[in-house]
Symmetry: C2
Subunit: 424 residues, 2 copies
């Protein structure tokens, strides 16, 4: 082995960044590759989409986070090929990285389950750019409704549907209902924004399926209290520019948001090892891949069933824990020691629903409502990277609470769906 081993880590999300930090001080050369220049705090991404926070509030440049960790070099690039036998990664700028150890942590993207044509009409939410696109789409719908002379068209612009009752769908629906009912009050002359219909559509029997049934039911009631119409047990069969098909019924709605499914990053397939149905890499208990003890996968891209028979969930704490264990196993392997199997420590599950509403499941302790919301807020602010981000997010939250206003109601970028509205 070369004097200084080269460790390549792909992905600066929770798994990749936590692994990188866990390798601090190690006599190794680490290259962290990400296609963005920032680490993103995904749990608050819906707040950027709903104009409560600015993009930089929940992101920090990877270089800045890692500036004092001298064994790391950060590269902003997209991976175009991984050769597991030659131990080589190719980047889109044409350069190659030869590695001794590889950690692939490129995460997940949204998936339309074979209905990719829906993507055009029902965007999803995974990156900051997605969030800004979605913000434009949501705010723009009210502008179009205000300008519409035909009442049927106006109603279609005031009809919103969120497809998928998981945490993202619930957050988006609850916040959008608050925007329509409170934030936009008094600002329009031809429409009453509070008449907007916000529907949350879930194919399964309940929202927040990862939570105990009693909390799902509480979440549903809190959503309806905020003004969201919740439809359960009916799958969406089609999505078009002017509405969607629910069971056998076409529902007019100009704005449909996709929060129904995630699939693994396409980089997983480059490893040439078995994947699960969602495209995730079936990892060994120590997070390495079969036949390649020097290659590890962590985070949302890794598929692992624990010894207790439960799959590791695709949540931020699991990604961080996996990242740290992968780093530990990389160290072990470089030292010629044996690796350790991953054991997920489940500290609980929380989801926010909207203004002062959330559900918390800490195993034995379950609660919902205002107290859960405060708990959710404190945990999320605490886990944000960067003191300044914490301060600004708190400030924005107090502002939003006190004024019902949302700080970032600025439509950015050109609207691709409505080219006539582009800048001349």
């Amino acid at each position: 082995m070369a004097a200084t081993p080269h460790i390549v880590i792909i992905g600066g999300g929770f798994a990749g960044l936590w692994a990188t930090r866990a390798l601090a001080g190690m006599p190794a050369r680490i290259t962290l590759v990400d296609r963005h220049n920032h680490h993103l705090f995904q749990p608050l991404l819906y707040q950027v989409a709903t104009a409560g926070l600015s993009a930089p509030d929940i992101a920090a440049p990877l270089r800045h986070i890692l500036r004092r960790q001298k064994n790391v070099e950060v590269r902003m690039a997209t991976v175009t090929a991984i050769d597991t036998d030659a131990k080589r990664v190719t980047l889109d700028d044409g350069t190659t990285l030869d590695f001794d150890r590889l950690l692939l942590a490129s995460g997940a993207t949204h998936a339309y389950f074979g209905n990719d044509q829906w993507a055009e009409h029902a965007p999803g939410l995974k990156t900051l750019d997605d969030a800004l696109d979605l913000r434009r789409k949501l705010l723009f719908a009210f502008e179009r409704a205000e300008a519409a002379s035909d009442p049927i068209e106006r109603d279609a612009w005031l009809s919103f549907a969120i497809i998928g009752g998981g945490p993202t769908g619930v957050e988006l629906a609850g916040t959008l209902a608050e925007i329509a009912r409170e934030t936009l009050r008094d600002e329009f002359r031809n429409i009453d924004p509070s008449q907007a219909r916000v529907r949350l559509v879930e194919a399964g029997p309940r929202v927040l399926a990862a939570f105990p049934e009693e909390l799902s039911e509480k979440a549903r009631r809190q959503l309806e209290h905020l003004g969201v119409e919740v439809t359960l047990g009916t799958p969406v069969k089609g999505i078009a520019a002017d509405g969607y098909t629910l069971g056998d019924t076409f529902v007019p709605a100009k704005t449909v948001v996709w929060a129904a499914g995630v699939a693994a990053s396409p980089l997983g397939a480059m490893l040439d090892v078995p994947l699960d149905r969602a495209g995730r890499v079936l990892v060994q208990p120590d997070l390495s891949i079969p036949g390649h003890p020097d290659i590890f996968v962590a985070g949302d891209l890794a598929s692992l069933v624990q010894a207790n028979g439960k799959p590791v969930p695709g949540v931020a704490p699991a990604a961080k824990q996996m990242g740290r264990l992968a780093a530990r196993n990389i160290r072990a392997r470089l030292a010629g020691e044996t690796t350790t199997a991953f054991v997920y420590k489940d500290y609980g599950n929380l989801a926010t629903i909207g203004r002062m509403a959330a559900v918390v499941d800490l195993g034995t302790l379950r609660f919902s409502g205002i107290l859960a919301w405060w708990f959710w807020l404190v945990m999320h602010v605490f886990f944000l990277i960067g003191f300044r981000n914490r301060l600004v997010v708190l400030l924005n939250w107090f502002w939003a609470y006190w004024s019902y206003q949302r700080a970032a109601r600025i439509i950015l970028g050109e609207d691709r769906d409505h080219p006539a509205m582009e800048r001349p």
Copy 2:
């Protein structure tokens, strides 16, 4: 005349918004049209481009600003035609607005003086989208330099040129030098960002030509102290993807920014009245246009030489004053009274250069340096719309001062110049 006159105001910048507010309480129906949903505080736009502020920090939704002014309806749309005889404005969504009085205040855009092919390589700065594009371009150049293996290519990525020594050029150059020397310190492994060359190129004999000569000279010295190379008296003769031609010399530079010229909004030409060389509308002393006493033009789009022989400058205070006078004259004309001629009240001129450096010209009182910078800061925060924006901008400034960090160093959007860097 109809019972309730309809006043159409085009443009929600300083002129249009100040006119709209000056018409509060009037028994009229006002429609304010803007192609964006927000009023933008343009004097701080360079801070968004240089990652010091987020886009929403310096913008506020027009609807929100005007929510309590019940005689105003806000329309987000682009004007496609103005018929001055039929008194009708056509919007890009196909609707038309019949007006009794019109105020056109659609401002200015950047101009390449017949070299429109330069726009592709040297973007300008007028809108929030421009600022985010420019931010991406500036931050991305350091990423490319870090990844470059060829030293000549690396140097080209570390070479920046700002074309134009007016206030925007000076602000951009000073701030970019600070980013290279201080903000990015320690974050790169293959390059030393402080070795970046930031050149400010001005064809005329001095920077900040609107200021007294002594302040221009002080500004030049402050720029050089910050690390900017200032080139005076040499025009740029060409701009390409990999550099620009200064006089007869080609200078390699991957990043060139255009801050050299503005032209009037193209809507001015729709009025079918004489324009000046920059495309601005030659208005009457009362800001109406020849032959159409019911149509007014205000702000950067209006060209007016005052009684003292001096042209009204294209600055924010002049736009606000023009907007207010146009409103007063619209009121006067509706009441059958005579209109008033515009007189520009010049309270002084200030420009910022970079960290703790600025110049202030209050006529008899002229100063520069740290004191001028504080004066500039207080004035700009004071004139921002919205208490929250003021608070956040102040917070960001203290943060930047204390930590040398810039809060918004997040690369957003796809890079159109380098499609290989797009998301897969």
